[in-house]
């Protein structure tokens, strides 16, 4: 028989469907409905991994999300690799390929285990902090070797073939967990007509009912679950999400649910009708109310060598037997502190295998299940516990003795019981993780010996999740809590009548966490608390001895709870041990704080479809396609794609940027060029107080700007620093069109609204963004008038249509507003048309522009041309610490305006008024071939030793084919008083370029060219 531990019958697997899989290179078989863990156990695979620090052999301990050991690397191809998959949560599929994450050369014969065995005692908690300090220079070398041991699984080295997405959900009630309480809750809410989402992390909904011994309405509990689920599935207002983990609980009832849509089907998502399914989906749920029916995790007992394969938690044993038809061994010793766990022995017994003994820490256990076990003749060893497991790669025996739990000591002679499996139960910890994500601190409940969740507004817990472990009570609790939750929304829902469940009388549990050993903890065999991080009881004891008294300190010093399981099995035991060492109670030691995620979540699922070509919007102008077709290189400006330059093929070779820019700039200075300026922000401003408003937000004056005229303005924040600039045109007495920088558009729009809505609501003015409505084409250069006159009815006569005028008319038969403004210093017309017609106008300009060699240019040439004119680019020549005065733009500062405009007051602060502030100047390299590096700094003394005194930096720098020289703009301390001074720009190679401080206006200082 190739699945030695598989029972002939029972369980919820489909024996008719056999699946093959590969683990550590060896092929095995399992069945549909198996998890990888149940299939491995069915095949008698004990050793699934090596531990992280000591490389100890490890087996499967649990059956769900709490599993600390069985982490595997999944995937048969490089691209499909998934690290650290929990075998207990991975559904088996045909062809599944997995490997242990640790162990070299393999998990059976691991070289590092020698280090673990011999060196383990040299690695107490904090050993890194105490060693590797000498000599100081060696640390990086030591660390290189330490890093070699890092990590569990490995990242794929190829790109993910899979896709992910998000679904935004809203509901009245989100029920997390489809066990008894969750199902009762969902049914209650659904029948009341509420919008319900029910999610459950497992392959199949039903939770503990799927492996329960109890009957509901005289049928197996799983049948009741099936009936409820099918009723819910029929209901349009209910969304059922199996294989879906509620992984994070965020503020105001925002819960993320991670649905694994295809991980049970294969290592990569299948393709259906030519469309690849999304591998997983994040449901971003905003719930009116949330009901947590997340159940409880069983706590294992902490005893010597409790990590040897064959040690399991008791409930997992039942789950494997009842749900998967797998008995994970032959001879069981069960060590318990409570009645509930007796089920494991009963199930084991019914599976036809040998229960060696039940070792009960209580002196006189007396519940119904105890009686049942006794009645079957199972040996019950009272007042005792397993002190220590024997065995290396599999349990071979259990040392058992009577103990005094309260006094923490062994009171009797140890007896060695031969066995291959030890199951233990120290009680049940409600799964409080999600409730704790909200910041609410859980509280210790002495009656159930566990933390119960504190709940913020809108959150409820039911069933085991709040310590109501009895089945009948849990069902009723779920229904009652759902009805309370809906009442909080003002909806009435009467709790459903729960199915009949027998009530099993259970005896009182006793508190037992770490089992005492004959030897003191520091000398006893290793007693593991957090198996994934190899944290032992001794480590916790040592931490407390060294003064780490807060549980947070203990956790951080020992790394307890920092694994991928976040201490689901170990944290409470660890706290109990810390409490014992410190002589305090568990609640005095503290609570544990859980953070999202409940279980790890694929980055891809969090990213969703916001990746690759949809990572961030690309904004296009109406002329984008022309730019692409004409070979433009693009620059990212905000989210816009702007043409950067248009390289031409010259002699079969594509121009470099420098070549293209030189050609483009000369074309503008000598002929005519054209720029797509549509990305500039444009804001329509209407209202009787529009003019007053402009006067308050701009530094300069607006009172007298007449319709038909345009003015340049500077905008500051109230700290006096330049924020944005642009031109504003007067369209009518009460009507203006403001332009902003491309990057500043949204910010300026919000800025205007902010001031209007919060400070000056009495001003009658409205702002509307028209950035996308208008396409803007700048035709500029000495031939601009000639070209434009061919296709417009506007009178372009220099006297009729002056610099800083705007006119309207038709361009290429399309109604247009034309602004005679210039960012190049040349004659320029900015043509604005409704964007739908832009392509026609643009193409018509090129048809007529052929004879003038109309040259399209991009942002780089625009930068060169404007820099030659000394025109700033806000955000490049300024950086949030530059005032209009620093820029020397006194002509644009209305000192005597009646209203104290935004930014004015700040200019007179002591530092802002300093005379030696950094001021905007031009720089001319003494060697004309030199193009200074943008960002380079300027010094007086090039030979000054480091640190050098920096005067300022180069903000813009280019080669100018017009000047036949490099030139730059800069901000320099006291720059305006340094005209003609020779300064230096030191470079990394030790050279220093000599530069002369000059006016920032390099071409046409009188502005004659733009006025022609």
């Amino acid at each position: 028989m190739n699945q030695p531990n598989r029972l002939r019958q029972g369980g919820r697997i489909d024996r008719g469907r056999t699946l093959s899989f590969t683990f550590n290179g060896k092929r095995y078989q399992g069945h549909a409905g198996d998890t990888l863990a149940s299939a491995l156990l069915a095949n008698g695979v004990d050793l699934v991994n090596r531990s992280f620090k000591y490389s100890r052999p490890r087996g499967i301990v649990a059956a769900g999300a709490e599993e600390p050991n069985a982490l595997v690397q999944l995937g048969s191809t490089e691209a499909a690799q998934v690290p650290n998959v929990r075998a207990t949560q991975q559904a088996l599929f045909e062809g599944l390929t997995a490997q242990s994450t640790n162990g070299w050369p393999n998990v059976q014969r691991d070289v590092m285990s020698l280090v673990g065995k011999l060196g383990g005692r040299f690695m107490p908690p904090g050993f890194y902090y105490k060693t590797f300090m000498a000599p100081a220079s060696m640390w990086m070398t030591y660390e290189k070797y330490i890093r070699k041991g890092a990590g569990l699984g490995r990242s794929p080295m190829e790109n993910d073939p899979d896709r992910y997405d998000h679904l935004n959900q809203h509901c009245d009630l989100l029920v997390v967990g489809a066990g008894p309480a969750g199902l009762a809750a969902a049914l209650t809410a659904a029948r009341a007509g509420a919008r319900v989402i029910l999610c459950d992390e497992q392959e199949e909904m039903g939770g503990s009912l799927l492996a329960s011994r109890e009957l509901l309405d005289d049928q197996p509990a799983a049948q009741w679950a099936e009936q409820v689920i099918s009723e819910l599935a029929e209901n349009d207002n209910v969304t059922l999400l199996p294989r879906t983990t509620a992984n994070g609980y965020h503020d105001h009832n925002f819960v993320t649910l991670h649905e694994r849509r295809t991980e049970h089907l294969g290592e990569a998502a299948p393709t259906v009708d030519g469309v690849r399914l999304t591998r997983s989906r994040m449901h971003r749920v905003r719930a009116g109310q949330v009901l947590l029916a997340t159940g409880a995790h069983e706590r294992p007992l902490v005893y010597g060598n409790n990590d040897v394969p064959g040690n399991l938690v008791a409930g997992a044993v039942s789950t494997y037997i009842r749900r998967y038809g797998v008995v994970p061994g032959n001879k069981l010793v069960l060590s318990v502190s409570n009645d509930h766990a007796y089920r494991a022995a009963l199930d084991w017994d019914e599976a036809g295998r040998d229960v060696v003994a039940i070792v009960d820490a209580r002196r006189h256990p007396d519940g119904e299940l105890v009686e049942q076990a006794r009645a079957r003749g199972i040996r019950i060893i009272e007042g005792s516990a397993v002190l220590e497991a024997k065995g290396d790669k599999r349990v071979s025996g259990a040392r058992v003795a009577t103990i005094d739990a309260a006094a923490f000591k062994v009171t009797g002679q140890a007896e060695l019981l031969e066995c291959d499996t030890i199951a233990s139960s120290g009680g049940y910890s409600p799964v409080i993780h999600l409730a704790s994500h909200t910041g609410a601190r859980p509280t210790w409940d002495e009656e159930i010996l566990g933390f119960v969740p504190s709940l913020v507004k809108g959150v409820h817990a039911a069933g085991s999740a709040r310590g109501v472990h009895d089945l009948a009570e849990g069902l009723a609790d779920g229904a009652a809590k759902a009805s309370e939750a809906l009442a909080a929304l003002g909806k009435s829902a009467s709790a459903i009548e729960p199915p009949r469940a027998e009530t099993i009388r259970e005896g009182e549990a006793c508190a037992l966490y770490q089992v005492p050993h004959e030897k003191p903890t520091l000398r006893a065999p290793k007693q593991f608390v957090d198996m994934q991080n190899d944290v032992t009881a001794a480590a916790i004891e040592l931490a407390t001895r060294e003064g780490f008294e807060s549980i947070e300190h203990v956790k951080r010093y020992t790394a307890m709870g920092f694994g991928t399981d976040q201490g689901k099995l170990g944290n409470i035991n660890g706290m109990a041990i810390a409490a014992r060492c410190l002589g305090r109670s568990i609640p005095e030691v503290g609570t544990t704080v859980f953070r999202p995620n409940y279980t790890p979540v694929t980055f891809g699922a969090i990213v969703g479809r916001h990746c690759r070509e949809l990572f961030d919007p690309e904004r296009y102008t109406a002329l984008h396609q022309w730019h692409v077709e004409n070979g433009a290189e693009f620059e990212d400006v905000g989210q816009w794609k702007r043409p950067w330059y248009f390289p031409r093929k010259v002699n079969g070779k594509l121009e470099t940027m420098d070549e293209a820019v030189a050609r483009e700039s000369l074309a503008v200075r000598t002929g005519v060029g054209i720029l797509d300026a549509s990305t500039l922000g444009k804001i329509d401003i209407q209202g009787p107080d529009a003019r007053e408003f402009l006067g308050r937000v701009y530094t300069n004056k607006w009172a007298k700007l007449a319709p038909g005229r345009v003015r340049y303005g500077l905008m500051c924040k109230d700290d006096g620093m330049l924020m944005d600039d642009g031109t504003t045109s007067c369209l009518g007495e009460n009507h203006f069109l403001m332009t902003t920088t491309t990057g500043g558009a949204a910010g300026v729009m919000e800025w205007l609204e902010l001031w209007h809505q919060t400070e000056w609501p009495e001003l009658q003015v409205y702002f509307t963004s028209v950035t996308d409505h208008w396409a803007t084409m700048t035709v500029t250069g000495p031939d601009a008038r000639k070209l434009l006159s061919e296709i417009t009815d506007i009178d372009l006569d220099r006297e009729q249509f002056k610099f800083m005028d705007w006119r309207n008319g038709k361009v290429a038969d399309v109604p247009a507003r034309v602004f005679r403004i210039s960012f190049t210093g040349e004659l320029a017309y900015e043509i604005n048309v409704q964007a739908n017609y832009a392509m026609h106008v643009w193409k018509t300009l090129f048809e007529h522009g052929k004879k003038y060699d109309l040259t399209p240019y991009g942002t780089e040439t625009m930068h060169v041309l404007r820099a030659e004119k000394g025109l700033i680019i806000a955000g490049q020549d300024t950086d949030g610490s530059v005032t209009p005065e620093d820029l020397g733009m006194f002509w644009a500062i209305g000192y005597d305006k009646p209203f104290s405009w935004i930014g004015k007051r700040a200019l007179t602060r002591p530092d802002t008024a300093r005379k030696d502030r950094k001021q905007f100047v031009g720089l001319k390299p003494v060697d004309p071939k030199v193009v200074l590096e943008e960002g380079a700094h300027i010094v007086v003394d090039k030979d000054q030793p480091i640190p050098m005194d920096m005067l300022g930096h180069v903000t813009s720098s280019y080669y100018s084919p017009n000047l036949e020289s490099g030139f730059a703009l800069a901000v320099i301390k006291g720059g305006r008083d340094r005209m003609g001074e020779k300064l230096y720009v030191p470079m990394p190679d030790g050279q220093a370029h000599e530069v002369e401080v000059v006016s920032p206006v390099f071409i046409d200082p009188k502005g004659e060219r733009q006025h022609v």
């Binding site: 965020h250 503020d251 105001h252 009832n253 925002f254 905003r286 910041g439 913020v456 507004k457 109230d718 700290d719 919000e750 609204e753 902010l754 809505q757 919060t758 400070e759 609501p761 009495e762 104290s900 004015k904 007051r905 700040a906 602060r909 002591p910």
Partner: protein
């Protein structure tokens, strides 16, 4: 991930649609020129920064684009109320349970026409 009741759209909307804009009720001094440097610095930079109940300015950036105020607990993140520009909060550090009705939320601008009128006193 806050769920914020926009007092203008009159419904709860996700935090992603909103942008926080700092402490609420900071009025620009009426006469900046007569402010001392310290007074101007206080207006620009110095903030209450309380742990607990706090009034803050938000804008429904992707939505109605209106600015409004939120009274929120900066430790628990619970939102106690949202209110329009020009209105006064009902909840505050002094009145964590809310002011009695006759003093609080005096201006409740229900109709759109009252909008502009309701904005008077914005600077308070």
């Amino acid at each position: 991930m806050f769920y914020i009741h926009c007092p203008y759209c009159d419904e709860y909307r996700d935090e992603e649609e909103f942008a926080p804009k700092g402490q609420a009720h900071i009025a620009r001094p009426e006469d900046p020129e007569s402010c001392s440097d310290d007074q101007w610095g206080a207006y620009l930079f110095f903030r209450d920064n309380p742990r607990g109940i706090h009034h803050e300015l938000w804008v429904h950036a992707i939505g109605c684009r209106k600015f409004f105020n939120i009274t929120r607990n900066s430790a628990s993140y619970e939102i106690l109320e949202t209110y329009r520009m020009g209105e006064q909060p009902r909840f505050s550090a002094e009145h964590p349970e809310g002011k009695p009705a006759e003093q609080g939320a005096a201006v409740n601008v229900a109709d759109e026409a009252g909008m502009v009128a309701g904005q008077e006193g914005v600077k308070a």
